[in-house]
């Protein structure tokens, strides 16, 4: 058994008496930001997280333009079909469909062949076939543009040709017959947007509030922080539910409300930072130089607060996305046919026995995104605060 030890930074090799070895003229130093970036780039988990996040974003925002389906397009022929990489309908299924359609037109189907996106078939009947019988075929989702190419045996046999409307549903469809792939993409857009926008709202409120409270200090600080303490005791999630129920379920309201409830931690962090920065000697030196409050805030306070704030944002975004999904579960999220990952997941839980893919795909994306944010956040914290390494 080894003695437990924590890695600590190696001792400073120590200054040598005398001056710095002359660096080349004009050489730029390595700023803390660059050093942090270098540490971040070396952190494999964080970089993997970043990569996944970029992929998911690309998937959600560029994806819908590449897939032909709209998110609210209903395919009545394909309700709750399982995911498959094969195009739908399958050849056997097409056979079934055309036979059913033909039966409606009181004809029978002779040989039926599909090649690529088109098909040919022969229709037989004891009587003369009305060419309008092809309409029955066009009426299905699967076939269109059916034309009669030849009439044989006095019109008792028609050769027809047309195109097959083939659809790909790699993620399957939902219980209304909508393409789950596109819905996961759209849901991703909503979830990511809510996550980012709500975090921005909390960032703006929190940073402003915290910086003012910390910089002014004294009695103002006391009052402002007392207020935060009271808000901490409010059952906030319940407040969110109340707000959403009472004021309606618009997208804007959702992220505003969530943002407005998540700024407390941010305010506390920024205030703490500002307070400790104010006591730092370089700020006192700036005061002794005669710099104005604004110059000090701009040159000294803000740049030194950014690190913790960035790290905190990576914590808030997942929190916000979870909160949004929670609202969706209660049926208080964005309204159908628009959707979010949370809404898709909560739909999925109700059908998971019969149609597990409706739970699996949105959950996969949701969890992967939160996971990546977590890793990225941990990586950023390690990179910005090397003490932890």
């Amino acid at each position: 058994m080894t003695d437990f030890t924590s890695p600590a930074p190696a001792p400073d090799p120590g200054p040598l008496p005398g001056d710095l070895p002359a660096p080349a003229e004009g050489e730029r130093g390595r700023s803390l930001f660059r050093l942090a970036l270098r540490r971040l780039v070396r952190n494999r988990a964080a970089m993997a997280g970043l990569f996944v996040l970029l992929l998911v974003t690309l998937f959600s925002f560029a994806g819908p333009h590449l897939v032909g389906h709209r998110y609210d397009q209903i395919f009545t022929s394909y309700v709750a079909v399982p995911p498959s990489l094969e195009p739908r309908p399958s050849d056997e299924h097409l056979q079934d469909v055309i036979e059913t359609a033909a039966r409606r037109g009181r004809v029978t189907v002779g040989d039926f062949t599909v090649s690529g996106g088109s098909f040919t078939a022969t229709l037989n009947s004891e009587k003369t076939i009305d060419p309008r019988a092809t309409r029955y075929i066009d009426r299905t989702d699967e076939f269109e543009g059916t034309t009669v190419t030849a009439t044989e045996e006095d019109g008792r046999r028609l050769r027809i040709a047309g195109t097959v409307a083939r659809e790909y549903f790699p993620f399957g469809t939902d219980s209304s017959g909508r393409d789950l792939l596109v819905r996961v993409m759209i849901g991703g857009q909503i979830s990511l947007l809510v996550g980012v926008l709500a975090s921005l709202v909390s960032l703006v409120i929190g940073v402003t509030y915290g910086a003012i409270s910390g910089y002014l200090g004294g009695r103002v600080d006391d009052v402002m922080m007392r207020f935060v303490e009271i808000l901490y005791s409010l059952p906030f999630v319940f407040m969110v539910i109340m707000l959403v129920v009472f004021f309606g379920r618009s997208f804007v309201l959702i992220f505003l409300v969530i943002g407005a409830t998540e700024w407390l931690d941010m305010a506390r962090i920024v205030r703490g930072q500002t307070l400790s920065l104010k006591r730092r000697e370089f700020v006192e030196a700036a005061v002794a130089m005669g710099l104005s409050d604004w110059q000090i805030i701009r040159r000294h306070i803000i740049p030194n607060t950014i690190g913790p704030v960035v790290v905190f944002v990576t914590i808030v975004v997942p929190k916000v996305m979870l909160l949004e999904s929670f609202l969706s579960f209660l049926g208080l999220g964005v309204q159908a046919p628009l959707t979010s990952w949370g809404a898709l997941i909560s739909d999925g839980t109700t059908t998971m026995q019969a149609a597990p893919w409706m739970l699996i795909f949105p959950s996969l994306f949701f969890v992967a995104t939160l996971f990546s944010l977590n890793f990225l956040g941990d990586g950023l914290r390690d990179a910005l605060d090397p003490r932890d390494r």
Binding site: P235, I241, M242, V367
Partner: protein, 295 residues
């Protein structure tokens, strides 16, 4: 007290300024009845009067009648549902704290080892998977597929019924505790006085348990109150999924039906809980940290 006052005030006015009222839903009532109802519930008085009345009543423990469950007072509904939520919440809290702290300590002692990565990965999953997914999945596996446990309901309140909802409710918080404990434990193990303890040949157990863990517990204790609040929130979902007649369900139904007094009642009740918990945490903290005790 000022906190409770603020909670009552903020939620009272929030609710009242929202469009719609308890009787404006569904089919409209005949105007005569509507008027009688409004008078009966004193909704015709000016808002500030209603507010003062409400404050007065709440201060005397009277949460008023429910608008929707017309035969019950809010107090009665609370008393009915509270024991369920409380029991479930307590079990979940215990599970989350014990499990989370144990996992966190183990991970910290094996920092950057396989166990550490394993524990932390599981914890991250716990934090990121919403508990309305965990709940149904658990019930699918253990109730439907394996038929080991009942799928829902309170039943006789025995462990068979409570096991799944407790786990589903506790899991995210357990994960938070694990992460928190790992962090503060690593920090604690790095303290100068730990070096002293090692330099004086104290056993590994003494160093870890007596010296590092007690210090590391402080941030964990202060997370107890927010955790309890989170459990309450979680219980809304879990009670819904497992069909447990607790406070959370009443809240959601109350909110959806604009049952002013019921919503207010739940919010106040929960705020009382949070305030009391904060108090308990402060006392506990002072017990653990002599520096605060002597201030």
């Amino acid at each position: 007290m000022p906190t409770l006052f603020a909670v009552v005030t903020i939620s009272f006015f929030l609710i009242r300024f929202a469009p719609g009222g308890p009787f404006s839903l569904e089919r409209p009532l005949p105007p005569q009845i509507m008027e009688n109802m409004i008078r009966a519930y004193r909704l015709d008085l000016p808002l500030w009067r209603q507010y003062l009345d409400y404050l007065w009543n709440v201060a005397h423990g009277d949460f008023g009648p429910s608008y929707i469950y017309r035969d019950f007072s809010v107090g009665q509904l609370m008393m009915q549902s509270l024991p369920y939520s409380l029991q479930l919440g307590t079990y979940a809290l215990i599970l989350a704290v014990l499990g989370g702290v144990a996992a966190g300590v183990v991970a910290a002692l094996r920092q950057n080892g396989i166990v550490d990565y394993l524990v932390m990965s599981v914890a991250t999953v716990g934090v990121t998977v919403p508990n309305f997914v965990v709940g149904p999945v658990l019930s699918l596996v253990f109730a439907v597929l394996l038929s080991w446990l009942p799928a829902g309901g309170w039943g006789d309140g025995s462990a068979r019924f409570l096991l799944l909802p407790t786990i589903a409710l506790a899991l995210p918080q357990l994960a938070v505790f694990a992460r928190l404990t790992r962090g503060s434990m690593i920090e604690a193990l790095r303290a100068d006085h730990i070096r002293t303890a090692r330099a004086y040949g104290l056993s590994r157990r003494a160093v870890v348990v007596t010296h590092a863990m007690r210090g590391a517990l402080l941030p964990i204790v202060s997370y107890l109150a927010p955790c309890a609040a989170a459990l309450l929130t979680g219980s809304v979902v879990i009670e819904e999924i497992f069909g447990i007649p607790g406070v959370g369900r009443y809240f959601v139904q109350g909110a959806l039906n604009r049952d002013y007094t019921l919503v207010m009642g739940t919010v106040v009740l929960i705020a009382v809980f949070i305030v009391v918990l904060n108090l308990v945490v402060d006392i506990l903290y002072a017990q653990l940290d002599p520096r605060i005790r002597h201030d």
